[in-house]
Symmetry: C2
């Protein structure tokens, strides 16, 4: 494509000064008078002058752009994380461009190449639920591109990561159900490749163990996509058991919502017959009937921390491209938001 690019020469001709004066004015050179700088900058703005990007990138390869790969835009948690990323990035003078893998490994591979080819200064990545090989990530890491993982991380990477304490969050949720008098607590388990799925299961198991409640494997149902539909189907199976559960702790809010639909359709009451707790505290969870108890993840803070770590790395590498940045891991705390879907004892928060 040929862009009708305004050049320094056009600005010089228009103002009747030399191109080198224009160039130095644009660079805020001390030899150029404030009046000339003002005139040059105003005309540059008016004509939408953009420095020739190709020539520029030969001189200085920094684009001041951060690339983000997230699994799904429609996921409320991830849009909150992006707001946090943007909050820090824009203040520090970086732009943010986003790609979504749509939970596909193949798409994730294409995205990472597209971001690399856009010459982003660094990447923030949360992997797809299909991601079980990491060559595409290793390849870009090997080129020295700063990268920070968040939430769904690449465990073996020698890179920084921001995670949420999923285990503690899941344990707190399960302990809350035990505290409400629930004895047969089911768990709707999430996508099997993800570390967060394992951590949430582990938290559930630890809570049961702490209270000497034996683990009943029939009460742990797989929801590999973690969707509303899966949560509903899994719950229908649980309700058909000879001894159905008296509580459900779901790996995420959509699955919990599916559980609520199945319970209501079976003519049972929430929380009286079955209490329900989700994970992630989606936008809609407070609006459900009854409002859904959920484990809140600090998405905005996660985005802020991830962007801060990445920008620090980018700026260290800008000063010294051979530097080895020490990887850091930051673990953020969750917070249980108790609502009516789990309050069997009727006490209000």
């Amino acid at each position: 494509m040929k862009y009708n690019q305004v050049t320094i020469k056009d600005i010089a001709r228009e103002l009747g000064i030399s191109p080198s004066t224009v160039s130095r004015a644009l660079k805020d050179h001390p030899d150029i008078s404030p009046e000339t700088k003002k005139a040059v900058n105003e005309l540059a703005e008016k004509l939408n002058y953009q420095p020739n990007i190709v020539a520029l990138s030969l001189r200085q390869s920094k684009t001041n752009t951060i690339g983000v790969i997230i699994p799904e835009l429609v996921h409320f948690f991830f849009s909150t994380v992006i707001s946090g990323i943007e909050d820090v990035a824009y203040s520090a003078g970086y732009n943010v461009i986003i790609t979504q893998s749509n939970e596909s490994l193949q798409r994730e591979k294409t995205d990472i190449k597209a971001l690399f080819n856009s010459r982003v200064d660094g990447m923030l990545i949360s992997v797809s639920r299909e991601t079980n090989t990491f060559d595409h990530i290793e390849g870009i890491l090997a080129k020295g591109v700063p990268m920070v993982f968040f939430d769904r991380v690449y465990e073996n990477a020698n890179s920084s990561k921001i995670i949420v304490d999923d285990l503690s969050g899941a344990k707190e949720a399960t302990l809350h159900l035990i505290d409400q008098g629930c004895k047969r607590i089911a768990h709707l388990e999430g996508p099997p490749n993800l570390e967060i799925t394992k951590q949430r299961l582990e938290g559930y198991l630890e809570a049961l163990k702490d209270h000497n409640i034996p683990v009943n494997k029939n009460l742990i149902m797989a929801c590999p996509l973690g969707t509303i539909e899966e949560g509903k189907k899994a719950t229908e199976k649980l309700l058909a058991m000879a001894e159905p559960p008296d509580a459900i702790f779901a790996t995420n809010d959509p699955a919990a919502m599916g559980a609520m639909q199945a319970i209501k359709e079976a003519g049972l009451k929430i929380p009286k017959d079955i209490a329900v707790v989700g994970f992630s505290n989606w936008f809609f969870s407070a609006l459900l009937d009854p409002p859904l108890t959920s484990v809140d993840q600090p998405g905005f803070e996660m985005g802020q921390e991830a962007a801060k770590l990445l920008i620090r790395q980018i700026e260290m590498k800008t000063k010294n491209s051979d530097i080895d940045v020490q990887p850091e891991t930051k673990v953020l705390k969750t917070r249980l938001v108790v609502r009516d879907s789990s309050l069997k004892k009727g006490k209000k928060k």
Copy 2:
């Protein structure tokens, strides 16, 4: 940043062949044997060889990347549009990178520059609710960058656009409320800069006119941000009137949801006392209590059509950069999804 870039020379050295053979093998040149091509491609893949992007862009400026600017990621409608864009773009061999303006004109200006600097082949834009000047868009259009607008469009641009028939959608929603026996229908109006706001108001007014219902300006309430909070506050004011409305048609689903909260908190029943209809058919609308009637916009189709139009423009311009592409406007139909929030007569869809 210095990337540890694998070069054609590295591949040549490793395989004991000449760099020009490697180069031709990578380009699938007929002079090179299938065995050599296979070996070169496998090693290139293994070493994560990437053609030098700067050198490449001096030769051929096509990046096969489409840039998208949307107002808000968290907006369900826009995430549906993006899925439609990606559906068409990936099939056609294009990557999609996304930026969000966060409903800010300033951010939109930064985004458009960032996409331009990323050398995207074309842009798909839905403007922010603050956007009331268009110099930033004109500047990029003047450089010959193909651009297609969707949903919230730049009306005066000599560019293609995909819009939804907001007027008809709003009229159908209002006629449905009249059909349910509602006589005092209020309207929660959206962000004043947006054409869609005007069209939805116009549809509401046309429906009233068709049924000789006089317009009561006190029943039209401004919700300039179109949020849940604003919808709630506006509805509280409506309920405090001597003669409150018997129906509310909101400019979007969040405002409708705020209306529902206010109605419930006032101890009134939906739809018996006040019927409610929204616009956009958000993800959560079917899950509310009662489920919300809403005007469905074909977001996925809008994304597909916008991407198709843009790619056609890009490919025409690639063949002939001086071509003037004729602008096209495509109008998509809405569909009223009737749920319990508006069924006063109790009839089921």
